[in-house]
Symmetry: C2
Subunit: 137 residues, 2 copies
């Protein structure tokens, strides 16, 4: 399941993607438009900025805007930024790999192989969902 943070991030990106080119959106505007608690959204937008999905203009008349094409922002990326690994166990993860502490011998984790199959399919599906694909309905 997605965390609220990840869900809000997607909705915020969706909101930004729906605005006119060159429009700058204030946090409060996004919060109202997408029904997200404002102070919580502030943090999320900062995370999205650090992740180079959006950029911001500070000070009066400042706000946020997309710097990555809505066709190139995938669900997989947002999941990784806010909720971490897509794989079901760390030992089956590409980007968040960690060995299992409870598996006897390192590469004989009985679950690993099967979970890597799942990971590949889920990842492929998640990379197919972009902000653009969500916005046009």
């Amino acid at each position: 399941m997605l965390s609220h943070k990840a869900k809000y991030a997607l909705k915020a990106l969706l909101y930004l993607a729906e605005q006119d080119e060159n429009h700058i959106s204030r946090t409060v505007e996004i919060a109202d438009g997408a029904n997200i608690p404002k102070k919580f959204l502030e943090q999320i937008l900062l995370d999205l900025k650090r992740g180079r999905f959006v950029s911001s203009k500070q000070g009066k008349f400042g706000g946020y805007y997309l710097i990555k094409s809505k066709n190139d922002i995938t669900l997989a990326e947002i999941h990784r930024l806010f909720d971490g690994a897509i794989a079901l166990l760390p030992c089956a993860s590409l980007n968040f790999y960690e060995p299992c502490s409870d598996c006897k011998t390192e590469d004989e984790c009985s679950l690993r192989h099967g979970l890597m199959l799942i990971r590949d399919k889920t990842l492929k599906a998640m990379e197919g969902i972009t902000i653009a694909s969500l916005v046009k309905k």
Copy 2:
């Protein structure tokens, strides 16, 4: 990501599936064999019993054994039993459906449609992983 509970459940089922027909496994035996904390495993086995994956014999010489074919126990079922919904949001879930509280109008959740596509693919993949498929490697 899977919880430890779900991971331990899979490993316990795997252990049971590897035993001879008619063999009854004590909790401590499974715990040692699959490297799972014994008291924690007790709870997990009770959950698996309530889910009708295993059954038990009480008292001396008692223990646990599979009552569902290892070909019919899927990752999807274990995920649902221990970690709940497979979908990324409750509004996109088949078995754990709940409407989003933060979506303006009920069926205009901007994320729902895309997440249902993911759910279908992930579910299909997870139904393809059985205890039997994990045991034979």
